[in-house]
């Protein structure tokens, strides 16, 4: 499906790198490396140079921790979005938030996508996306409260649950007036899922692709990779890229990542093997 994220449109066969930019002091991977605004801005500049099409700016880490209210979340992201918008007009700006009030403020500041990692916890977020003609990412969390860890959650069929929830969310977005070409679905690895669930979702990601909605996967350095390979944060790139390959072969379109260049190469290689992309420059044997 053709994808439009506010004023930015992408061809049916385009894959997109969504680079994570944390405006947090405590996210699991970067551990506050981009907490300072200038450091976050340098991160944006770097990933833009590396070819990321999207930056995903977040003001609250996903894991439990100190309560961050609306005012503090807005203070972390709204002005920053405006600064990125002014400096990088061609970059798609996504904001990782579940709150409608924050969503409205960042869209006003120039954000193009609301990445709701918490599966529609705030039902008014879709109205904000519709109001600003922004894109929205519809995730599956199994109905958990934002910023909680999965605990003894089980599913009869995890992919069935993922499909039911993400498609239901997509329909709510449509009903609210979000443009069809601006809705993305995301199984949300590790959110409301143990590692076995995330592995199964990865294995069956083609079922999401088959729905026709563009699929986003957020695999980067997550615990399901770490537990599968017994690797701590910082040693999960190879596992992340292996999972990325599986999702790319199935046809996932957007990759939310810490490492842009490595993921871009992986996705391009798999996309080309799948026959959806031409190789970059071939001459050997045909010169």
């Amino acid at each position: 499906m053709t994808l439009r994220l506010r004023k930015h449109s992408f061809d049916d066969d385009a894959t997109l790198m969504m680079a994570i930019v944390n405006r947090t002091p405590d996210s699991f991977f970067d551990k506050g490396a981009t907490w300072a605004e200038d450091a976050a801005f340098e991160r944006v500049r770097l990933v833009a140079e590396q070819g990321a099409e999207i930056v995903d700016i977040g003001g609250i880490k996903a894991a439990p921790g100190t309560e961050i209210g609306v005012a503090e979340e807005k203070a972390r992201v709204v002005d920053f979005v405006a600064r990125v918008r002014a400096e990088f007009p061609e970059l798609v700006i996504s904001v990782d938030t579940w709150r409608a009030e924050v969503g409205a403020a960042v869209c006003e500041a120039g954000a193009d996508v609301l990445n709701d990692a918490w599966g529609g916890a705030d039902p008014e977020l879709v109205d904000v996306a519709a109001q600003y003609d922004a894109g929205i990412v519809c995730t599956h969390t199994g109905g958990v409260t934002p910023r909680t860890r999965p605990y003894r959650i089980e599913y009869d069929d995890v992919m069935r649950a993922v499909l039911d929830d993400t498609l239901g969310y997509a329909q709510r977005a449509l009903d609210a007036g979000v443009a069809r070409e601006s809705i993305v679905i995301d199984p949300a690895h590790d959110f409301g899922k143990n590692t076995f669930h995330s592995l199964e979702v990865t294995r069956r990601i083609d079922e999401m692709v088959a729905t026709g909605w563009p699929v986003l996967v957020s695999l980067s350095n997550k615990d399901f990779v770490g537990e599968t390979l017994d690797r701590p944060v910082g040693e999960r790139l190879l596992g992340t890229l292996a999972a990325t390959s599986v999702c790319a072969l199935a046809g996932a379109r957007i990759y939310r990542v810490h490492q842009v260049e490595e993921t871009r190469q992986t996705v391009d290689m798999v996309w080309t093997i799948a026959g959806r992309r031409r190789p970059t420059s071939v001459i050997r044997g045909i010169q």
Partner: protein, 169 residues
């Protein structure tokens, strides 16, 4: 025959075929030169080539951006031929020190043109150097009395000697 005859030469590079297209064209300059030469040939074009070379020629003709020959052109011919494939260590046929001399000699005979020299090309050596010279005898006949219009391309970027040339008589 009262009208003019136009002859163009291109190499049988498979990378010219759409099924071997890349995102970034590794032979953009060659492709542009071929477009110039094949467009100059005009309407109905005869092809002199091996079976594989014919595919390249047909593709080149289909892809050209123009085909407006002068009104008095009676016959147009596209010949597929190239020099050695042994110009460097990374060349398809590996490096052969005889390749550069062979190509220089063939280049001179083509560019003059010198039909008799073309007829005397050492075919055994050409085969050892992986050159495509199957069309040489017919090209030599065609170029008797011809004048060179242009050498549009002369390069060996991937260890294979390419020429794009045009003649008229």
């Amino acid at each position: 025959m009262t009208g003019r005859v136009r002859v163009a030469l291109v190499p049988g590079v498979l990378a010219l075929l759409p099924e071997y297209a890349s995102l970034r064209d590794p032979i953009a300059e060659l492709r542009a030169a071929i477009d110039t030469a094949t467009s100059w040939l005009g309407g109905d074009v005869e092809i002199i080539a091996t079976e594989q070379g014919r595919r390249v020629a047909e593709c080149a003709l289909a892809a050209r951006t123009g085909a407006a020959a002068a009104a008095d052109v009676e016959r147009s011919i596209l010949v597929v031929l190239n020099g050695s494939a042994c110009r460097t260590e990374k060349a398809p046929g590996f490096f052969d020190e005889r390749a550069e001399v062979f190509d220089a000699s063939l280049r001179a005979a083509l560019a003059t043109p010198a039909p008799e020299a073309l007829r005397q090309v050492d075919v055994t050596l050409a085969n050892e150097l992986w050159a495509d010279v199957a069309a040489l005898p017919q090209l030599a006949d065609l170029l008797t009395g011809a004048r060179t219009v242009s050498v549009d391309h002369d390069a060996a970027p991937y260890g294979v000697q390419y020429w794009v040339m045009r003649w008229e008589l």
